[in-house]
Amino acid sequence: MAFAVGSFITLYGLSRSVHENVERSFDEHGTDLTVKRRGIAEPFGGTIPQEIIPEIKKIPGVEDVAGQLLTFAATDNDDNVLAVGWSPDSFYWTGAPLKAGRIPKPDETKVALVGSEIARTMGKTVGDDITLLGEKFKIVGLTDYHSIINRNQVIVKLEDLQELTFRTGAVTFLSIKLENPGDQAEADRVSQAVEALDKLTVSPSEGMLRNDSLFGLLTAVSSAMAWVALFMGVLMVLNTLLMAVLERTREIGILSALGWSKERIMLALVIEGFILSAVGSVVGILLGVAGSKFLSSIPSIGRYVAVEPTIPLIAITAIAAVVLGVLGSFYPAWVATRASPAEALERA
């Protein structure tokens, strides 16, 4: 029981966190609309030619446009990090919060801004080198983002990353800043205008992932895993309880011989189930929280998601577990009390 509750909380928390963390990382860049290649399911798979940027800038209502190239890149010690390429004139740079060092100068190449979490886990600081895709980059600054994904990314010059990934002239996303960010009609008009230019899709940066099939799949898989864990746990508990019908029958016989009525016996056994599942839930919640902490502490997971079980998730899981536990103890008790006390004792 405790394990079922624990793994459900951990896994479900994981799936929620994947979603939330990625969204939060987009929000932090302060953009209004995000443009992607239409019809590509991989989040970093589609590319958009840079030449389209000036054309989008001409659309009325657009204040600025910038493109970024994203890729998972091999770094030191066979680790992978999210590498991001920004062009020197893009507005991204001005929004990047710095913890130490400085922003790269326009003419510098092979320089990097490193997320605070990467700097911590890899023991890097300003002045050190970091390897990306086999090339050495000089760390000129440390960023100070909040979202876990941004804290684990390495920002380099767009041209450097394009060259290393053989994607010259291409970016993964375009970000659009609107002149009047609150104006929904304007946002819709800009989106339509952009989509008319080429095979592109535009979505509000906030809810972008809601429409992203890969992240949708990821969330679906991990929440499915969570449900399977809970289901297995419940099955195991039910199985144990059904196996306990025999033992229950005997206990009911004893209680009956001691002068307990069927109703009181039933009530006692259901309360027993309640105590058992309540204890199981509490232990499970502790396991779940510990499991989430553990998952977050694994570098390859903690780099992209902070697994945080939320209070509603914990509460709903605990309530579900207790309800199932009570129902699960009610059923075998009910089966067992249907036998007469005499049968219960004779079968013992």
Binding site: L255, S256, A257, L258, G259, W260, R264, L269, S340, A348
Partner: protein, 277 residues
């Protein structure tokens, strides 16, 4: 020799399988206070059925049972009687495996209105009476068969019942333990003046009872009353006194059984229900 009517059976019949098996056939019996009765008979003669009918666990197909002259008609009356006036001892002990000796005894006191302190005191007293004071915190699987039956006996007497029913209480014990259990039961019966009705198919055990009820094919074929002279001798306290030292502190199970959070919940649940309902 019966001072007053405690339990009476009038024309009691019991059948199984829609009348195909007749377990009790027109049984008429009258038990008085303070009696010691042995029920004798071959296997399948209806002894167990008789015991279960006499405490209301089985409802007879027909016939009347009276407690102190009053007919008992409802299951509710029977459960009340079993809680207060009738103690039952079974061949296979029927203890709760997850509860300690003391807790097993205490369960019979839930709902008696006794306070926690009072329950504790009386449980200790009862375990002391059966020579198990040092085994109070042991689980049944840590106890020998004889010790388990003594826990069951302590449980059966905890509410000072007027009637003790025992269905082959020594059937699962070796002869040495069997003798000790019988001594204990007869001592308790005499000390408390309660009625003891015991199923037995060992004639030497039955000899210690003042009255014999012989059964065959569900019928009482005859009853014998031991001569008063012989009974007087048997009324002397038995020599094999139970003492603490009789059961040396030995590990029945080398490993320790499961203890902890998932053990006492039944005890808590029973106590809660007993206190609230």
């Amino acid at each position: 020799m019966t001072s007053s009517h405690l339990l009476q059976l009038e024309h009691v019949n019991h059948t199984f399988d829609a009348g195909r098996i007749v377990a009790l056939r027109d049984v008429n019996l009258d038990f008085g206070e303070g009696e010691s009765v042995a029920i004798l008979g071959a296997s399948g003669s209806g002894k167990t059925t008789l015991i279960l009918v006499m405490c209301g666990i089985r409802t007879p197909t027909s016939g009347v049972l009276r407690w102190r002259g009053e007919p008992i008609s409802t299951l509710r009356q029977w459960t009340d009687l079993r809680r207060t006036e009738i103690g039952i001892v079974f061949q296979d002990f029927n203890l709760f495996s997850t509860l300690t000796a003391a807790e097993n005894v205490e369960v019979a006191m839930f709902g008696s209105g006794a306070s926690t302190a009072e329950r504790k005191r009386r449980v200790e007293e009862a375990l002391d009476t059966v020579g198990l004071a040092r085994r109070a915190t042991h689980l049944p699987q840590e106890l020998s068969g004889g010790e388990r039956q003594r826990v069951a006996i302590a449980r059966s007497i905890i509410n000072n019942p007027k009637l003790i029913l025992a269905d082959e209480p020594t059937g699962n014990l070796d002869s040495k333990n069997a003798a000790a259990i019988l001594d204990l039961m007869f001592d308790l019966q005499r000390a408390r003046g309660s009625t003891l009705i015991m199923v037995s198919h060992a004639p030497d055990q039955a000899r210690r009872c003042a009255r014999h009820v012989n059964m065959k094919d569900g019928q009482v074929v005859d009853q014998t009353f031991a001569p008063a002279r012989r009974m007087r001798r048997l009324r002397e306290p038995s020599r094999t006194r139970l003492s603490q030292s009789q059961a040396p502190a030995r590990a029945i199970h080398p490993h320790h059984p499961r203890r902890g959070v998932c053990r006492r919940q039944l005890h808590h649940a029973l106590r809660l229900v007993a206190q609230c309902a």
